[in-house]
């Protein structure tokens, strides 16, 4: 049965968890990361670290490289130069990272129920040629409970509201047993109630020690709801507490001509991120 043993060797990446984690290392370490497309550099010389359980907001104008950064961390895109380590190892081979796509990039008419999509998260743990067991369906149910979608488990995914769709993908990340969740513009198109529900789920993830990285447009929310803020415009303009990062000098640096600085009564500045197409306005 040597052949079968080899086939089930955990080093075969799609069959099992290939990389052991080094618990003393930061969950994410990025050093000198550069990504170049044919059209030019999308990311230049990024260096930062992320600790376990941290909540990081990533802000910056459109085209700042937020999606590119997420895809490199997820291991979908290869960096041109630099080092990316997830829990002390290269990203290629980690199934503990979950990438929540922008809603516009999903084929919502796909014939799948909410539970089907969440079960997709289990595929990495299951491995090839194995079907979901009772245990896997239980984990899916639990994940749906956590994001309060249990009642909608059998709905076709198109029948969900925008906020429910985001929470479904978080449930998929939970079913995947992800330790680092990357969310690309999850708030776009959500009303304030749906945003609140999303944040209460993120709060729950935080209490479970899951690390989250969220790309945002809204600087106010970035400052209020996250431990640290990263200001990105192809290069890293700043990373740290919102009070220190989101200062006028660095904001002009990041947003450049897209920025409007408005003096207001209490002496702070209101910023209009005029590049946003759906008329959102950010305040700081």
């Amino acid at each position: 049965m040597a052949f079968l043993d080899r086939f089930r060797n955990p080093n075969l990446t799609f069959l099992a968890h290939p990389h052991p984690h080094s618990p003393d290392k930061p969950i994410l370490k990025v050093e000198g990361l550069t990504v170049e497309y044919d059209s030019g550099a999308a990311l230049e010389n990024l260096t930062f670290e992320l600790q376990r359980g941290e909540r990081l907001a990533v802000v910056g104008p459109n085209g700042a490289g937020k999606s590119t950064l997420f895809k490199v961390i997820a291991g979908v895109l290869r960096p041109s130069r630099g080092l990316v380590e997830v829990a002390g190892h290269e990203p290629g081979g980690h199934i503990c990272i979950a990438y929540v796509p922008q809603r516009t990039q999903v084929d919502w008419s796909f014939p799948a129920t909410v539970a089907d999509v969440v079960m997709m998260g289990r595929t990495g743990k299951l491995g090839l040629l194995r079907w979901p067991t009772h245990h896997d369906w239980q984990l899916v149910q639990q994940a749906l409970d956590t994001v309060r979608l249990r009642d909608l488990a059998d709905r076709q995914i198109q029948q969900l509201s925008g906020g429910q769709q985001q929470r479904m993908f978080i449930a998929r990340a939970l079913a995947q047993e992800a330790e680092l969740i990357l969310m690309d513009e999850p708030l776009t198109g959500l009303d304030s109630r749906a945003q609140e529900e999303l944040f209460s789920v993120l709060e729950l993830l935080h209490s479970q020690g899951v690390t989250v990285m969220v790309a945002l447009h809204d600087l106010k929310i970035a400052g209020e709801r996250f431990d640290r803020v990263m200001l990105l415009n192809r290069r890293l303009v700043g990373i740290g507490l919102a009070e220190t990062v989101l200062n006028p000098v660095q904001l002009v640096d990041a947003y450049g001509s897209h920025l409007r600085l408005l003096p207001v009564v209490d002496g702070t500045l209101a910023l209009g991120d005029s590049c946003c197409d759906d008329g959102e306005h950010d305040h700081a």
Partner: protein, 282 residues
């Protein structure tokens, strides 16, 4: 009524043809779910046409014998399917352009080869539109074996193929071997096409891959249900199509495809009406 149904079945060629058409319908419909969901209809159509030179060479070499035709077609299908993938990955042209170039070139080569033979038109017509009533026992066996193989692979990689169709980024983060799986899917389509050649022929092949699956897509909300319903639609259409072909004396491949198209049209009208009624009720 019973007489009408039973009369054609007294001919062994009719029974063999029906068995082949049902088998082929099921295999193509199940695989067709992925063709529809991934937008590969043009690829499937092109691949079917690209087989023609293989058929022609097999025909010229084998002098009309059936079995070499099958293997030549299989070889050509697998090579050109992987070739289309390779060209679209490496050349700086879009995938559908690469498909168009290879498809037309291969098809022209096939016609050129066949036109060098005297009985040109009859043979070409069989290749293009199928000859389901000419299915022999050996053909039926090959169809069953390879069609069954396609279904087994689709079953084994069900969850992986589903993720690749729905969310390639998830596939990448889960470390699924995407390139390998894509190539497996392409080869499966190639095999399904070869298996179906005698039933519907090169020119109508794409209908078997796309129409029943698209009909089921309108009516279901889960992938496995879509596959099951598509298979049922294709099998029933194959039987009805052959009866129509028998009684109205029309080409069998065309009759089967027209039946599939009619079922799709009914489903499409019904679902659009249903949606409109619901919109009004709201």
């Amino acid at each position: 009524m019973l007489e009408v149904l039973l009369q054609p079945l007294q001919y062994p060629f009719m029974l063999r043809g029906m068995a082949a058409a049902v088998l082929v319908g099921i295999v193509c419909a199940v695989l067709g779910a992925y063709v529809v969901l991934r937008g590969m209809a043009f690829f499937g159509d092109a691949l079917a046409h690209a087989i023609l030179p293989g058929l022609a060479v097999g025909y010229l070499v084998g002098g009309g014998a059936r079995e070499p035709l099958f293997w030549w077609a299989m070889g050509t299908a697998v090579v050109s399917s992987l070739g289309i993938g390779a060209v679209s990955r490496t050349a700086r042209i879009k995938e559908d352009t690469a498909i168009g170039i290879i498809f037309a070139g291969m098809f022209a080569l096939g016609i050129a080869l066949i036109s060098s033979v005297r009985s040109y038109t009859v043979d070409l017509a069989h290749f293009l539109f199928g000859d389901v009533l000419g299915v022999g026992t050996q053909d039926l066996l090959l169809t069953a074996v390879f069609g069954g193989l396609v279904l087994v692979v689709v079953f084994l990689f069900y969850k992986e193929f589903m993720i690749l169709a729905f969310d390639p980024v998830l596939a990448a983060t889960l470390r699924l071997p995407a390139r390998l799986m894509d190539n497996i899917l392409i080869v499966l389509i190639a095999v399904a096409i070869v298996v179906s050649l005698q039933t519907v022929g090169v020119a109508l092949m794409v209908a078997m891959l796309v129409t029943p699956a698209a009909t089921a897509y309108l009516l279901t909300r889960r992938l496995w249900k879509m596959m099951a319903l598509a298979a049922a639609i294709a099998a029933v259409s194959a039987v009805i199509g052959l009866y129509l072909s028998y009684y109205f004396n029309v080409a069998s491949g065309a009759a089967i495809v027209l039946t599939c198209t009619a079922v799709f049209t009914i489903a499409w009208v019904a679902t659009s009406l249903n949606r409109r009624i619901r919109a009004v009720a709201r």
